[in-house]
């Protein structure tokens, strides 16, 4: 059900011809109100794609009537022309929606329309195809269009990703794409979440930032940060119910967590999903720094691929951080076996069973009470293959 699980939303996903292989490549999500509240979180990369620059501006008003997304081209590093194209995409979407007269939101304006793009960096979009695609998508808008929208934003994703959490009379749903360049703040991901809860944009913003901080921001598949990451949350208010903030925020977190897990499970070329749980840290920041350092250690990621519980590589990764710890108090467990105790050899590493896809590493810093969990993948020949051939 994706973005159309919540009442008040319609969506479509179509093939506009941006992708040379003819696969679906343009998605549209429309908020039919009555409320038009929205919030967004964007990449922290300082090299931002044109659609990110555009959507960041648009979101300052706290209102969106629609989101138009394309795969097949990131429109990043495309200069002033790229930004003009993004602007033109929003204008065309507003015009096409207004011409269709499908809703009573009082008319669409480009300034209420977010644009998201994903694909190869440094290529201008074929705007004629984008314009015709927008007309086609508007014509196919449907309250059952969520799945098709989720399919149209795939790039190297092998599956489309959707999630829904039901509240008491209200719903949060969403779709995501992302398979490579998965890293914090955020991954190469486009995510659109919708809700029919009657929530204002400040509360949406607060709930969304709290959720992404502990979900998408802690998915670190390959340490590479994208230029296009966007996570949007739109509220239609169509349920006419305003949930308790904590209950609503938890639903948003749960949908983000589920989508984040789906991103990790579909990461390019990965054979293992690695859950790195840092415990007994002096601060949450320390726990995240240590988790990320472990997640980005290529040698460890290779070892996990080889089903080798090489805890020395965990310690060498911890040692590069500025977190509070004493080397001779560190403990490391891999799949439940404490292979490193007090910074030295612990239980028999031959007891570690690594045959399954999920691998669980616990790094005990013995320096406090804080914890954080970071997700990553192993490093495989398939990852190298996929990413050495992507743009050629």
């Amino acid at each position: 059900m994706s973005v159309t699980a919540a009442k008040g939303f319609t969506a479509a996903g179509i093939a506009a011809g941006i992708k040379e292989n003819g696969n679906p490549d343009l998605a549209l999500v429309v908020n039919n109100g009555p409320r038009l509240a929205a919030a967004g979180v964007f990449t922290s990369n300082r090299v931002k794609a044109a659609p990110v620059l555009w959507s960041e501006q648009v979101l300052k008003g706290g209102q969106l009537t629609a989101v138009v997304l394309n795969s097949g081209g990131a429109n990043a590093c495309t200069g002033p022309k790229g930004f003009q194209d993004t602007h033109a995409t929003a204008e065309k979407t507003a015009d096409s929606l207004n011409s269709a007269g499908l809703d009573d939101t009082g008319g669409h304006s480009p300034g209420w329309i977010a644009v998201c793009s994903t694909g190869l960096i440094g290529i201008l979009l074929p705007m004629d195809k984008v314009r015709r695609g927008i007309d086609k998508a508007v014509a196919q808008l449907s309250p059952h269009g969520g799945e098709k929208a989720a399919i149209a934003i795939k790039t190297t994703d092998t599956v489309h990703k959707t999630s829904v959490v039901q509240g008491d009379g209200w719903t949060v749903g969403g779709m995501a794409k992302g398979a490579g360049m998965l890293a914090p703040g955020l991954a190469t991901m486009l995510v659109v979440l919708t809700t029919d809860a009657d929530v204002d944009s400040d509360s949406l913003d607060k709930a969304l930032r709290a959720a992404t901080k502990v979900t998408f921001d802690r998915v670190d598949s390959d340490g590479c940060m994208s230029t296009n990451d966007t996570v949007l949350l739109l509220a239609s208010g169509a349920s006419q119910i305003t949930p308790e903030y904590a209950e609503f925020a938890e639903a948003v977190r749960a949908v983000c967590d589920d989508l984040g897990q789906q991103l990790i499970r579909d990461a390019e070329g990965a054979g293992k999903d690695i859950r790195i749980e840092v415990v007994n840290a002096a601060s949450e920041d320390d726990a995240v720094e240590v988790g990320r350092s472990i997640a980005r250690n290529n040698l460890l990621k290779c070892a996990i691929h080889g089903e080798d519980p090489n805890w020395g590589r965990v310690l060498s990764a911890i040692g590069t951080t500025s977190a509070a710890f004493e080397p001779d108090l560190l403990n490391v467990a891999i799949n439940g076996v404490w292979v490193c105790k007090n910074g030295s050899v612990g239980e028999d590493r031959d007891q570690v069973d690594m045959r399954y896809r999920e691998v669980h590493i616990v790094a005990d810093l013995a320096a406090g009470t804080e914890t954080a969990t970071i997700w990553t993948n192993d490093l495989t020949a398939e990852y190298v293959h996929e990413n050495s051939a992507y743009s050629s």
Copy 2:
């Protein structure tokens, strides 16, 4: 000629049986004076191997009579027993050298003997074999033993690495090992440099730090920092010549640079050597930060492996740094073709010839006049294979 190119040094390299395959695994370098000055630079990893903790202490005196090195085991994360083993290794080396009575340095003391180890983390050394190996190495010490010493410190190195620079009547020579876990501050490298120049330990220290900062510290093959990195410089004074400091420092830099290049060329599984030159940075620190970020971008390293001039991945790596730059002023050249100009599409990427092993990336930050060069390698299926099978 390696560490015995300079007068006043003897060396040996033998098979002590630490490696199960019977390859050479123990090296000894002895300074026969008359001067016994020394300096050292060590890993900045906070998880330090026992031999690093030992040698850091020993070097505080500014004097070394010998360095004993083993491959086949890093003696890292081995707790108090590991440190006792390092201490015992230095004691045994002093005893054996004193028993042999080969020199007139006034006798060897454990406190003047540095110990270096390399190999798998978390394994105690077979000390009986180490002790017997030390006796064997002392018996084979020779002013022509430099090559054998260089061979005995290899781990996954496919070739041994040596370098010599001649001054006016004096010499700087050295040997290095290192093929994986190559990263800054330093790489997984053991390096012993020797000179017969008559230089005091303060000048050695100054020259060595200046040299490693712009050579070994800028070799970043896989972003992984080791627990055992050690670079030592010993001066015998046997030439009885004290060169100008600048001339001496340049010779030390040249030897470090040559050995650093050899490390990159022999990096595990690598098919390309990538020279990342950051120019027009606001500061040298900015240039190094940007160079390192590019060097550690797995997606770019995969693209280079696929001979794909994917400059978008260079920009996305620059964008994650805190360096001074404006995204729309960035320029990137790959093998001489300015594929990115003003943050957008530049010259035709099809003009880029990437058939050769060396790849040259220039990142122009357009923010100042400083520059730095970082060396890295591509990411290959062979790297994954070597490092998924290393300890098993």
